[in-house]
Symmetry: C2
């Protein structure tokens, strides 16, 4: 089952293996440089010539920029969770750089569902989100622990 | 030992337990709303009145905004690493919300140092960075795997 646009989902509506696919976002050099100037002012995120002499071998987006774009894609089109997307934390990896011109989308999968013992109105869903470029390369893997409300009794 | 401003450090210059403290950054409502509008458009990051009805009980910064500010503090004043701060990935947690008016700084500690087996010019440093507000509350814990160059032979 692939929910890309549907009613907001409560914890009770999720099941392990459930998948979601976001819309796409195209990142360009101006976006990469603007984010870098504000939050990650390092040569490999700010200047293509300088970036060629680094491990990145050319301009690459800050990993936090990729994370922020992933969040926007999941908020707007990827993960239709009741109450929104509220992360308690998670694991993040950047197996490949995000480059100017990349067209990113996010594929997410429910990995675990854990109702709270102390708070009966919510639980934690472990969601695995892969951010993927137009070549099918995974540029980010995020395993996020999200707080998801339970469906209110009616 | 507390290095807050010093020469760039190679992997060989690091030792487990070494600590670093960044300068501070004051976050305000305008910054929180601007980041939310661009990357995390959800009511608890965008509208104080709406946020009062949510789990956050008032306006809070996106966790990715806290992460981005943490990066800037570490790049500019926290972690003087040779070659810059290049993250392969890590674990991130947000134990408390970042609020308008918070004055954040980052305290980092070297947790592990692992020279690369395959690439003799570099290694991985596991760095634990705590982002702390003016009340001493930890708003983010990041365990980052950073790629750090070894000191070139001379």
């Amino acid at each position: 089952m692939n929910n890309s646009a549907s009613d907001p989902l409560f914890l009770d509506d999720l099941h392990v293996g459930q998948r979601f696919t976001s819309a796409t976002h195209t990142i360009d050099e101006a976006q990469i440089k603007a984010f870098a100037a504000q939050f990650d002012p390092q040569p490999f995120h700010a200047d293509d010539q300088a970036a060629r002499k680094t491990l990145f071998n050319g301009l690459a987006a800050s990993g936090w920029h990729t994370a922020a774009i992933t969040m926007r894609l999941n908020v707007e089109s990827g993960l239709p969770l009741a109450g929104g997307i509220i992360g308690a934390g998670g694991e993040i990896n950047w197996p490949a750089p995000t480059r100017p011109g990349d067209i990113l989308h996010v594929e997410s999968e429910v990995a675990e569902i854990t109702p709270s013992r102390s708070k009966p109105d919510r639980g934690i869903a472990l969601i695995l989100s892969r951010t993927i470029n137009q070549h099918g390369e995974v540029v980010q893997i995020l395993k996020a622990k999200l707080v998801v409300p339970r469906r209110p009794a009616t």
